[in-house]
Amino acid sequence: MESRRRLRGARVVYTLLVLLFLGMVNLVSALSVTVNDLECVYEYVLYEGDTVSGNFVVVDHDIFWGSDHPGIDFTVTSPAGNVVNSLKGTSGDKFEFKAPSSGMYKFCFHNPHSTPESVSFYIHVGHIPTEHDLAKDEHLDPINVKIAELRESLESVTAEQKYLKAREARHRHTNESTRKRVIFYTVGEYIMLALASSLQVVYIRRLFGKTVAYNRV
């Protein structure tokens, strides 16, 4: 009698726990930071073997020539101190890796140039319940696993959408800059042309005005 009650109690706790995990391990963060030289953000990974996925896009782009700024460097450091993932000189990319251990992971953006850039990033830590989460005498309910997998797939779609949104923002900045350049530079070009030709005329007038008059007499 006593043992059956205890077992039922444990089962209730187990269901609540799994549902708590399903609700709580949905760690997402999507933000923009301005990177002057080095910016690091930290994200906590609860379980070893979790898939950490995400993307980042360099959004603010006030540079003059596109080739001047090759992009920023991105590094992921595990809590043990070794570099898990590294991308160099990119203006935006997706990343995904399996966490080798649980703990605090460091995601660093390094800007090799002096102009500050704004980086929009998204980090998601996904967990699928496995046998290792439970005590030895509990069974893994397959429906919980399926729901977790479904949620992870939907999260990957959301991540993709956030990436597209950030890229679209960057594209919009480029478009605005193009529009401004078209107007500003062409009007400037007309003015310069008119100025250059009038200067030419004035110069030739002066040239012939002084010398020929001398020779004429």
Binding site: A10, V13, Y14, T15, L16, L17, L19, L20, G23, M24, N26, L27, V28, S29, A30, L31, S32, V33, C40, V41, Y42, E43, Y44, M104, S120, I123, L134, A135, E138, I143, I147, L150, R151, L154, V157, T158, Q161, L164, K165, E168, A169, H171, R172, N175, E176, R179, V182, I183, T186, E189, Y190, L193, A194, S197, Q200, V201, I204, R205, F208, V212
Partner: protein
């Protein structure tokens, strides 16, 4: 018993140390660190922040340094402003499309050489939805609640998709006007070049004729 203990420990960890959730950002000793996100209209934002010293300086999180927080809308309106706090929560609904910024500044110089870290839990849209109240209102729980959450996520994906399509349409118009402008201005520039050179030549010919050189 072991399971109950493990559950208790994890629950306590999640409740007592909210810094475990969300992102951690280091604050510079002087100056402000800002994080922002571009949002469109009617998006609900829920933010939790908690300041502490990093693990190197304060292993047991005993001291909470005071910081000041400021959340501004894209047009500069102040949405939330608190000074000399170490944790708190803010929430707002986006009324304008643009970049919403949350800025954190360290108060004063009393921290010596230690780095102040802020744990930010920034949730927008479907992640900010209060599922507990939905569960209570509709009296669903467990598996049904999880499926309802998934349904919410799918709806959010669809809404996002529609929004992206309308943005793409706007951008396409801007691109096409820029394209036609480039063509028009280049032809005009060619025209101006020809006009300038012709008027130059005519003027100089008249000038030389007047000076009796030709």
């Amino acid at each position: 018993m072991k399971l109950v203990e493990a559950a208790a420990v994890i629950l306590v960890a999640f409740v007592v140390a909210p810094a475990v959730r969300g992102l951690w950002v280091d604050l510079p000793s002087t100056g402000t660190k800002c994080v922002s996100e571009e949002l469109h209209n009617h998006v609900v934002v829920l933010g939790d922040y908690h300041s502490f010293f990093g693990q190197n300086d304060d292993v047991n999180y005993t001291v909470s340094p005071s910081i000041s927080v400021k959340v501004t809308s894209p047009y500069g309106n102040n949405l939330y402003h608190q000074e000399k706090v170490s944790y708190g929560q803010f929430s707002f609904t986006a009324t304008e499309t643009g970049s919403y910024t949350a800025c954190f500044t360290v108060d004063g110089e009393q921290h010596g050489g230690k780095t102040v870290t802020v744990g930010i839990d920034w949730k927008t849209g479907i992640s900010a939805k209060d599922w507990d109240s939905v569960a209570k209102k509709e009296k669903i729980e467990g598996l049904e609640l999880e499926l309802k959450k998934l349904e919410g996520i799918v709806q959010a994906i669809r809404d996002n998709m529609n929004y992206m399509m309308s943005r793409e349409m706007d951008m396409r118009e801007v691109s096409e006007t820029a394209n036609s402008r480039v063509a028009r201005f280049s032809i005009m520039s060619l025209g101006i070049c020809i006009v300038t050179s012709v008027s130059q030549s005519l003027y100089l010919r008249r000038y030389f004729r007047k000076k009796k050189l030709i």
